[in-house]
């Protein structure tokens, strides 16, 4: 006898402990099994695009801090200033390039720590891994605070360089962090990487096949976990990433576990890049002379970087005035959500939050 059951609709979010902000999913459930999912966006929409049209190019930089991925502000800054520099054809001093790379890689570590911690938290590991990762992130935030004066909204990069040179106590502290960090990553591995419950919860769960990942414009660790070896730092090197040796960790199955492992491995690779960048850091100016009210030539540009969550692109159209004619942000977590339904359908309610956690969205970037 087949028991006929009535599907019922569950609104997960916008107020839910593990939707990472104000994300809302309309789940159609058959018992515990997810039959359908429809994401609902827009609860954090601040209209970054529209605001930018009334700001000068310089004034948009603090906007990228907070209107986008607020867990990776440095990467947002970097992506934006690179796009503007490409548009206005500005040369950046060598030291500034290195400082930017150092900041971007520190940001990546910090962001991945949060991503992995919150994913494990969604899995039900009662805040412990998260607290450990917060501890490491705290060290990085200290360093960010040292160079930029704030802990989250750095506003550090400038068109043509960085706002200030790093203080002299920055490099010794960073070196110390770089030395310690691999040891802590080992500790996280010991904590949970072989945990049977974690393996059971994540292996084979939420599989995103490689072709679907590419077709649905997934990027970053989500794409790489599906086995596509695509990293803009290597594929389309911006700034000075072509000078560093690092590997691109990829997964094979494209499941939650692979995304988790890819993030952990990327942290190790970021530490490697940091080591090289510190060793190579040249002296010199930290900022090119750029007019304060920059007027880029008429034109358009699409600049992209490999932000911690994937390809962060800025599409800028200039009409020769001091404010961009059009600014569009290609938010990686927004587009990574495209394939969410395919990953989730057929799994249980408990898996929904884990899969969502493994995609690692930041609502600031999804809704912009």
């Amino acid at each position: 006898m087949v028991l006929r059951t009535e599907p019922f609709i569950l609104n997960m979010g916008p107020q839910h402990p593990s939707t990472h902000g104000v994300f809302r999913m309309r789940l159609t459930l058959d018992g515990e099994v997810v039959v359908d999912l429809e994401p609902v966006f827009g609860y954090l929409h601040r209209s970054m695009d529209k605001i930018s049209e009334t700001r000068t190019y310089q004034q948009i930089i603090p906007l990228t801090d907070r209107c986008l991925d607020y867990l990776a502000s440095m990467s947002n800054n970097l992506s934006y200033v690179l796009a503007v520099e490409k548009l206005a054809d500005i040369k950046v001093p060598e030291r500034a390039e290195y400082l930017r790379v150092i900041m971007a890689e520190m940001m990546r570590i910090s962001s991945h720590l949060m991503a992995v911690g919150f994913m494990l938290n969604d899995m039900g590991a009662f805040f412990t891994p998260l607290m450990y990762m917060f501890r490491e992130r705290e060290k990085l935030l200290d360093l960010f605070e040292m160079v930029s004066g704030q802990r989250l909204n750095y506003n550090y990069m400038r068109i043509g360089g960085v706002s200030q040179d790093v203080p002299e106590e920055f490099l010794p502290a960073l070196k110390r962090f770089v030395q310690e960090m691999p040891h802590f990553i080992d500790e996280y591995d010991q904590l949970l990487a072989e945990n049977e419950i974690l393996l059971a919860r994540s292996k084979g769960v939420g599989v995103l096949p490689a072709d679907l990942a590419v077709n649905s414009s997934a990027s970053g660790p989500v794409l790489r976990a599906s086995g596509v070896k695509w990293d803009i730092r290597r594929g389309d090197p911006y700034s000075i990433y072509d000078r560093f040796a690092f590997d691109i960790p990829t997964g094979t199955a494209g499941d939650v576990y692979d995304r988790y492992r890819v993030r952990i491995q990327e942290m190790r690779e970021s530490v490697r890049i940091l080591e090289q960048a510190i060793a190579q850091l040249p002296g010199g100016l930290h900022r090119a002379r750029v007019p304060y009210l920059l007027r880029p030539p008429v034109g358009e540009v699409y600049g992209r970087i490999e932000a911690p969550r994937g390809e962060l692109g800025f599409y800028l159209v200039s009409d020769g005035s001091i404010a961009p004619y059009r600014l569009h942000v290609r938010g990686p977590s927004f587009l990574n959500l495209t394939a969410l339904r395919d990953m989730v359908v057929g799994w249980k309610v408990a898996d929904v939050v884990v899969i969502l956690g493994s995609i690692d969205i930041v609502m600031g970037e999804v809704d912009r």
């Binding site: 700001r55 412990t128 501890r135 360093l143 605070e145 004066g149 200030q164 010991q190």
Partner: protein, 164 residues
């Protein structure tokens, strides 16, 4: 899948957490213990030095929020006198662009960060409140020569985190 399933990973993880019991908590007990902030801290208000200010309004132009209001009048010796310098720190997002743009070193970020008020209108700071005073010390944001006289920031990397 070649992984052990009988609980060895669980045991390792539990040993790991047990190891952490014997480590020092990293939390700072905030109101009692204070950490040294960054020398470049961008506090929640501005510090204005009227003597140096020429009323050029570069800062007001640089502000993304349009948050700085400056009214000037022509003084006796043909220089600007600043009649009004008003900042609504409730709308300020501490981006520091005004400080960075000031050509005369007349504007600084403050080191203060505990500025809660009961009413929004009290956050509007006029000429007298913005002025540099003993309670409002400038931070070294974009003013690197101030850094030498400031206490070093307490860093968790160096284990200096317990505060005083």
């Amino acid at each position: 899948m070649p992984f052990n399933r009988y609980g060895a990973g669980i045991a390792r993880g539990m040993l790991m957490t047990l190891k952490h019991v014997f480590r020092q908590p990293i939390t700072t007990q905030y109101p009692e213990w204070r950490l040294n902030n960054s020398k470049r801290i961008r506090g929640f208000e501005l510090v204005w030095v009227p003597v140096k200010c020429t009323g050029c309004t570069t800062c007001a132009k640089a502000c993304p929020q349009g948050n700085i209001e400056i009214v000037t009048s022509r003084g006796e010796d043909n220089s600007y006198a600043v009649d009004k310098f008003e900042v609504d720190i409730g709308r300020c997002k501490s981006c520091g662009l005004c400080v960075e743009s000031c050509p005369f070193e007349a504007l600084f970020m403050s080191r203060n960060y505990e500025l809660a008020q009961y009413q929004r209108r009290k956050l509007v700071q006029g000429k007298e409140e913005v002025r540099m005073s003993d309670k409002k010390q400038p931070s070294a944001y974009c003013k690197p020569w101030l850094e030498a006289s400031m206490p070093a920031q307490s860093l968790l990397v160096n284990g200096e985190r317990r505060g005083r």
